[in-house]
C-alpha cells in the first residue's frame, strides 16, 4: 500500500483550481452586472449557484486530500451513500425488496469500501458483480413477492453497481502501486475528477457560447453538438496539459483524458435516460444549482472504472 503526501504538485493543482474558481466567480459577477443590471436572472442565478457549489466541492476535496488516504476513502463512501439513496428512491421497489435494500446499504456498501481500505483487489472486483448480484435477488425471492420481480431486482442491482461499485473505483486508484509514482496516487484521483468535471463544465460553457444543434434531443435537450465537440476537445487538451501530475507522457495523458471525457459524456446520457423514464429532472436537491449528488457524479461513475483499468493494465507491472 503506497503512502501518500500532500506534495508540491498538490499545492500547484489546488492553487490552479483556486484561481479558476476566482475567475469563475468574477465572470459571474460581471455577467450579472452586464446582463441583469446586478439583479436577478434565472441563468445567472443558476450559474452563481453552480460556481458557489464548486467552491464547496473543491474545498471538501481539498480537506480530504490534506487529511490523507483514510479521509478520501470515507469521503467516497459518503458520496456512494448519498448517490445510492437517490438511486433507490426513484427505483420501483415493493415491500418485498426491503431486506435487499438493507443489504445494499448496510452490507455491500461498507464492505466494498473496507476492501478498498485493506487493498484486497481480488474481492473488491467481484464483491458486487458476483456476490451482490446473487444475494440481492435471493433476499427478494425469500420475501415471496413476485410482482414485477425481474424489474425490481434489476433496479436494486443497477443501483449498487452504479453507486457503489463504479464510484468505489475512484478511491481504489490509491491502491495502485505504480513504479516511480510512490506516494502520489492522490493525484490520479485529482486527474480523473478534474478531467471529467472539467469536461462537463467545458461542455456547458461551449454549449452556452455557440451551441446550436441538439445532440440528443430526446435524452438531454440542453446538450448540443458544439458543446460536445468543444467540451471533449478542450478536456482532452486539459488532460494533456496535466501530464506532469500523472505517471503518463503528455500524449498518453491526452488520449486517456479523451477516453475519460467520452465515457463521462455517454454516462451522462445513460443517466439522463433513466431520469426521463422516471419522469424526473434531477436526481435530488443536495447540491444547489446542480441537483442531486448523482447529477454531479453521473459522468464520474462511467469514467472511473475505465480509467482505473487503463492505468492498472498499462502502468502497474
Amino acid at each position: 500500500m503506497p503512502t501518500l503526501h500532500w506534495n508540491h504538485e498538490t499545492w500547484l493543482l489546488f492553487g490552479g483550481l483556486f484561481a479558476v474558481l476566482l475567475l469563475a466567480s468574477t465572470v459571474t459577477l460581471l455577467l450579472r452586472w452586464r446582463l441583469a443590471g446586478g439583479g436577478s436572472h434565472p441563468v445567472i442565478d443558476n450559474l452563481a449557484q453552480r460556481v458557489w457549489a464548486w467552491w464547496w466541492m473543491i474545498g471538501v476535496m481539498g480537506v480530504a486530500f490534506a487529511l490523507g488516504r483514510t479521509a478520501v476513502i470515507v469521503l467516497f463512501y459518503l458520496l456512494s451513500f448519498f448517490a445510492l439513496r437517490e438511486f433507490v428512491t426513484i427505483t420501483t421497489t415493493r415491500r418485498g425488496d426491503h431486506r435487499a435494500i438493507v443489504a445494499a446499504f448496510f452490507l455491500f456498501l461498507p464492505l466494498q469500501y473496507v476492501l478498498v481500505y485493506v487493498d484486497w483487489y481480488g474481492m473488491f472486483s467481484i464483491l458486487i458483480p458476483v456476490y451482490a448480484f446473487l444475494l440481492l435477488p435471493i433476499l427478494a425471492a425469500l420475501s415471496a413477492e413476485t410482482t414485477r420481480f425481474l424489474e425490481r431486482c434489476a433496479g436494486v442491482q443497477w443501483a449498487v453497481m452504479i453507486c457503489v461499485f463504479c464510484i468505489s473505483h475512484v478511491p481504489a486508484l490509491l491502491t495502485l502501486p505504480i513504479p516511480g509514482f510512490d506516494g502520489r496516487n492522490l493525484l490520479l484521483i485529482a486527474f480523473l475528477v478534474i478531467v471529467v468535471q472539467g469536461s462537463d463544465v467545458l461542455q456547458y460553457v461551449w454549449g452556452k457560447l455557440c451551441g446550436k444543434r441538439k445532440i440528443a434531443p430526446l435524452l438531454s435537450p440542453s446538450k448540443t453538438v458544439e458543446g460536445f465537440v468543444g467540451g471533449v476537445a478542450s478536456a482532452t487538451a486539459l488532460g494533456a496539459a496535466l501530464w506532469w501530475i500523472t505517471p503518463f507522457a503528455p500524449w498518453q495523458a491526452g488520449a486517456i483524458a479523451l477516453v475519460i471525457a467520452l465515457m463521462g459524456f455517454l454516462g451522462g446520457l445513460v443517466m439522463s435516460a433513466i431520469k426521463r423514464d422516471r419522469g424526473i429532472k434531477d436526481w435530488g436537491h443536495m447540491i444547489q444549482g446542480h441537483g442531486g449528488m448523482l447529477d454531479r457524479l453521473d459522468s464520474v461513475v462511467f469514467a472511473a472504472p475505465v480509467f482505473f483499468h487503463i492505468t492498472r493494465y498499462w502502468w502497474v507491472p
Partner: protein, 208 residues
C-alpha cells in the same frame, strides 16, 4: 430540559441522514401563524419529518397529536413523546368516556400552540392513498375557526420502514405543505372532510 433538547436534535439529524427531509412549501410559507398541520399517516416517524421541516423557532410551539396507547407504553416512548416532542397524547380507545380528544386539542390551540394531526386516525398500511378521515378535524375547525388547517403530504416514508421491519433504509422523502383549508359558512361535516381530503391528495405525486 437539556436532555430532551439534545435528543430532539439527535433525532432530527438521524432523520435527515435517513430521508434528506426536504420541505416543499407549495401552498403557504413557514410563518408564526397558529396552524393545524394535517397529514397522511404511514409511519410512527411521520410527525418527526413535519416537525423537523418547520423552522427551529416554530418547533417548540408545535405539538404532534398521537395515540396514548402507543406513546405511553414504555418509559422511553413516554420520554420521546411527552418530553422531547411535547406530544398531545389522546386516548384512541376511549376507555374513559369522559375524556374528549377534540376538547384536549382545542385546549392546546387556545393555549397558543399549533398542532400536527393525522386525520386518518391510524397508520395506513393499505394500497389506498388515504383512509377515510375521522370527524375530529371538523369539530376542531368549528371550535377554532381562525386557525389555518394546512394539508401536508409526506412522500416515501412508508418505504423507509415498512410495517413489520426493524431496520430502516435511507430513501429521500419530501414533505409538501399545501394551501390552508378554511372552514366556510356552508361547510357541513362531510363537505369539510372532503375538502381537507382533496387538499391533501392534490399534493401527492402522480402514481406511475
Amino acid at each position: 430540559m437539556w436532555i430532551a433538547r439534545v435528543t430532539a436534535r439527535a433525532i432530527i439529524v438521524f432523520a435527515r441522514l435517513l430521508t434528506g427531509m426536504r420541505a416543499n412549501w407549495q401552498g403557504c410559507v413557514p410563518a408564526a401563524v397558529q396552524r393545524v398541520y394535517f397529514a397522511n399517516h404511514s409511519s410512527h416517524g411521520d410527525f418527526v419529518l413535519i416537525w423537523g421541516c418547520l423552522p427551529p423557532e416554530l418547533r417548540p410551539r408545535t405539538r404532534p397529536v398521537a395515540g396514548a396507547d402507543y406513546w405511553d407504553r414504555s418509559p422511553l416512548r413516554r420520554f420521546i413523546g411527552r418530553d422531547v416532542f411535547r406530544a398531545l397524547l389522546i386516548d384512541r380507545t376511549r376507555s374513559d368516556p369522559g375524556s374528549d380528544p377534540v376538547a384536549l386539542m382545542r385546549g392546546a390551540l387556545e393555549g397558543g400552540d399549533s398542532l400536527i394531526l393525522f386525520p386518518e386516525g391510524t397508520r395506513n398500511t393499505t394500497d389506498a392513498r388515504l383512509l377515510p378521515f375521522k370527524s375530529g378535524i371538523f369539530h376542531l375547525a368549528r371550535a377554532c375557526p381562525s386557525v389555518e388547517f394546512v394539508p401536508v403530504w409526506i412522500d416515501n416514508l412508508n418505504r423507509v420502514m415498512p410495517k413489520g421491519e426493524f431496520v430502516p433504509v435511507p430513501l429521500l422523502c419530501t414533505v409538501t405543505f399545501g394551501q390552508p383549508v378554511l372552514l366556510s359558512a356552508d361547510d357541513d361535516k362531510d363537505r369539510f372532510l372532503a375538502r381537507c381530503r382533496d387538499g391533501l391528495l392534490a399534493l401527492a405525486p402522480v402514481l406511475d
